[in-house]
């Protein structure tokens, strides 16, 4: 069995540790490129959301590299993600590829298929201690990749040379691929923290602060969202991303696990959106409100074009923006998105935020108090 799986930012690092430990040979899909996107767009339904197309491209490219098994997860809706696997399986079947599609779906759709898929994904024989150990390590690795990305977002506007920051973080990500145990991971964490703290700072403290909300794939996968985070960072903006794979997985395993931030965001969203509408719709609303309360200067809303939950969120974010006086930039991404247009919009957005900040400061000096409007 040579298994493959879809890309989601640094998920391949975590799975690259998990699967060899379980004794499964993996063929990670090649990094997402224009070609990946073209393959996905050509084969997928025209109006399907963008992540489906990109992950389909991943599968095809991995099959071309010799993968014979695909690992995919399902879902229970109402967002379209839970049905990706079914559509992708149909497409791959019709193309005539002889591959095994292992779809881990909710036990709601049959307890036996669920356990069979789980068993395949765990390497056939279920030896619990071994699995627990492997899962623990790869989970910690996944968390660390997110920490690293968080550092990159936060520090980009504060260090003298963003390139050296990228070098440290990318170096750590590369080193992560070779981590064998939790002890090694701890050492790597310490080393990276040291390196990061020794980077020369530019001494700025009055940077703009922008939060990112949106759909889990587009808001994280820098290879398809034209790296909005880096773009903002290079414009001197402190960026925080409310979306994370770790949170996503925790949420999927609910009701056993739910992080505090998530619960808070859901509560904050209540006056605007009363219930879960699938995907990250309610998180986007709640996180935007939290950013407003924490005094962020603006929010960037990233989602795939035609994403159902995020479009509901978009309608409601307009009200949030109005009520909290919080500028929100909505960026819908799909295969037709052009980098130049996106860069222009982000730059214009940052200009607006700077202007607003300056106006606020001036008014503060003039009136002696911060008036809301």
């Amino acid at each position: 069995m040579r298994a493959t799986f879809p890309h989601l930012l640094h998920l391949d690092i975590a799975l690259g540790i998990l699967y060899p430990t379980l004794g499964i040979e993996i063929v990670p899909p090649p990094p997402i490129t224009q070609k990946t996107i073209e393959i996905g767009v050509k084969l997928a339904p025209q109006n399907a959301c963008f992540p489906l197309k990109v992950t389909l491209g991943n599968f095809i490219e991995a099959i071309e590299q010799g993968a014979d098994t695909i690992f995919m997860v399902g879902g229970v809706g109402p967002c379209r993600f839970g049905y990706y696997g079914q559509i992708q399986r149909l497409i791959i079947e019709d193309l005539g590829y002889k591959v095994r599609f292992v779809l881990l779906d909710h036990p709601r759709y049959g307890v036996r298929p669920f356990f069979e898929a789980l068993k395949t994904m765990a390497g056939g024989r279920l030896s619990l201690p071994k699995i627990v150990q492997a899962v623990r390590l790869s989970w910690s690795v996944l968390r660390f990749t997110e920490e690293l990305e968080g550092k990159r977002r936060a520090l980009r506007c504060q260090v003298e040379d963003p390139k050296s920051l990228d070098r440290v973080i990318d170096g750590a990500l590369e080193a992560l691929r070779r981590v064998k145990s939790l002890e090694e991971l701890e050492i790597l964490k310490e080393q990276t923290a040291e390196k990061l703290s020794s980077l020369p700072r530019n001494g700025r403290t009055d940077f703009l602060r922008v939060g990112i909300v949106g759909e889990v794939y587009i808001a994280q996968e820098t290879r398809v969202n034209f790296n909005v985070e880096r773009l903002l960072g290079d414009l001197g903006v402190y960026v925080h991303n409310s979306v994370s794979t770790v949170e996503y997985i925790l949420h999927t395993l609910r009701p056993f696990t739910r992080s505090k931030e998530k619960l808070e965001a859901w509560k904050l969203a209540q006056p605007y959106l009363k219930r879960f509408v699938g995907g990250e719709g309610i998180d986007s609303v709640g996180s935007a409100i939290r950013y407003a309360q924490e005094g962020f200067d603006g929010v960037v809303h990233l989602y795939p074009f035609t994403c159902m939950p995020e479009i509901v969120a978009k309608g409601i974010l307009q009200a949030v923006s109005r009520d909290f006086d919080l500028p929100i930039l909505h960026l819908a991404i799909d295969e037709h998105s052009g980098e130049a247009g996106l860069v222009t919009r982000v730059e214009a957005f940052v200009d607006v935020l700077e202007r607003r900040k300056w106006e606020k400061k001036r008014r503060l000096e003039h009136d002696g108090a911060l008036s809301r409007r």
Binding site: I39, N47, A48, P78, R275, F305, T306, Q318
Partner: protein, 332 residues
């Protein structure tokens, strides 16, 4: 108290139920007028630009009622089939209306009806909460719901006999059936609003075919046909569309000549289940022709007519030649 029901989305399915329920509770019901240009225009102005056309139409209807009624009746129909959902936009609909039109918190009746996990209990509790907005008397609510369900059954039976919602709601005369038939797939809010679908039922009729919709196929037959799939989708209406298509996949009924699938651009569920239907139709060696028509606010009538006419020509030709296997494209 005057309660307004916007004529859009699930209205076409639950018209009789909602109206009877509210009237039994002693409420004056106001339904927005049939779609027209001005209503659609308001929907386009207030809607989020990327939201699907039917939601924009719904927003237009909600706008048409503002100021004329005390409260809007937009129950949050999370699920009306066990284990399934409605589309996220329907789940968030009351919130969208409230926030886009700057309405007060209690200007929208938005209690949740959710049969997903709890089945009929969720249904009953949902309507109990809805009824509590008007009366304290639970027995009165229960009686109203019972009568409403009666009306709903009657309405559904009429639809099953070949009437369209517009025949029943506005009293338009039904079209006499023709011998040749086309299966018209699509969400009821697209098929039933003849203004936004450019009167497609009449157009197909004038080309010589009557239509069969999901409403005219018995539910057991739809659900049985749906079992062809390893996993049905989690959207009830989309499942009905797939089930209806699958029920006619085998050429059993010689009067049925083809599938026309009406989709609104940016309809999330249909972008996936449409693909499922199309692939299964194409996998059959001797299947019926399939046409997908996408409509939105920019659709021109001439283009729609041209495509329908071409499709009718093809149905005639295929029916004469019995050649209908279209192989799928090779791998890249």
């Amino acid at each position: 108290m005057r309660v307004g029901i916007p004529r859009g989305l699930l209205f076409y399915r639950f018209f009789a139920l909602w109206k009877t329920f509210l009237e039994e509770l002693g409420v004056e019901v106001v339904v927005s007028p049939p779609s027209n240009k001005a209503i659609i225009q308001h929907g386009l102005v207030y809607g989020v630009e990327e939201i699907c056309f039917p939601v924009k139409v719904f927003l237009g209807h909600a706008y048409a009622l503002l100021g004329k009624v005390d409260v809007l009746f937009i129950p949050r129909m999370v699920s009306f089939y066990k284990g399934e959902y409605n589309c996220p936009k329907i789940l968030g609909l009351p919130d969208l209306v409230r926030n886009l039109f700057w309405l007060e918190k209690d200007a929208v009746i938005d209690d949740e009806v959710n049969m997903r996990d709890r089945g009929i209990r969720g249904w009953w509790e949902g309507f109990l909460n809805l009824g509590r907005r008007f009366t304290e008397n639970e027995r009165k609510i229960a009686r109203a719901l019972r009568r409403a369900e009666e009306a709903h059954r009657l309405y559904r039976r009429k639809l099953g006999e070949g009437y369209f919602p517009e025949n029943l709601i506005d009293g338009r005369p039904p079209l006499p059936p023709k011998e040749k038939k086309v299966v018209l797939l699509g969400h009821p809010y697209l098929l039933s609003d003849s203004y936004i679908n450019m009167n497609i039922v009449r157009k197909i009729y004038d080309l010589g075919y009557s239509v069969i919709t999901s409403d005219m196929v018995p539910e057991e037959r739809i659900r049985k046909a749906l079992r062809t799939l390893p996993k049905a989708s989690f959207w009830t209406i989309s499942n009905e569309i797939v089930g209806t298509a699958f029920a006619f996949l085998e050429k059993e009924d010689p009067s049925v000549r083809g599938f026309v699938h009406l989709v609104s651009f940016e309809c999330g569920p249909d972008s996936l289940v449409g693909e499922v239907v199309e692939r299964y139709v194409k996998r059959k060696k001797r299947s019926l022709p399939y046409l997908r028509l996408e409509i939105d606010e920019h659709t021109g009538e001439a283009g729609l007519v041209t495509r329908l006419e071409a499709f009718v020509d093809m149905m005639e030709w295929r029916n004469a030649h019995h050649a209908s296997y279209v192989p799928t494209p090779p791998a890249p």
